[in-house]
Symmetry: C2
Amino acid sequence: MLKLCRRYLNWIQNSVFEGELTDVKLKELLHEAKQMMNEETDSIIVFKSRQEKWLDKMVVGKEKNKIDNIL
Amino acid sequence: MLKLCRRYLNWIQNSVFEGELTDVKLKELLHEAKQMMNEETDSIIVFKSRQEKWLDKMVVGKEKNKIDNIL
């Protein structure tokens, strides 16, 4: 799941990913994710903001190393 | 940390919480969180949307049981 999400998004913390996706790409990602998750027990929560400026991001503490995006 | 976050927010998944907070309450929460986290290794990422309608939420799979908010 981590590998899949990283193909589409940046991994920012534990099970949290962030990125810009078209609706088509999001559908692709969720389609693939559904095949590996158990929909009875697992969940994926998507927060969508249509415009980046509508969402403020604040980081306290250590930001994930850039290297984590490559591994 | 879980206990602290739950005093201010709803626990929606693993280390992810959601809720409406005033700026004062957010400051309080972060102040308390900083006292228990290691800022060299841990992180808290806050996404803020000024208006709820600017953020769409989509859940795939199982939503956390309401009971989780009480435990």
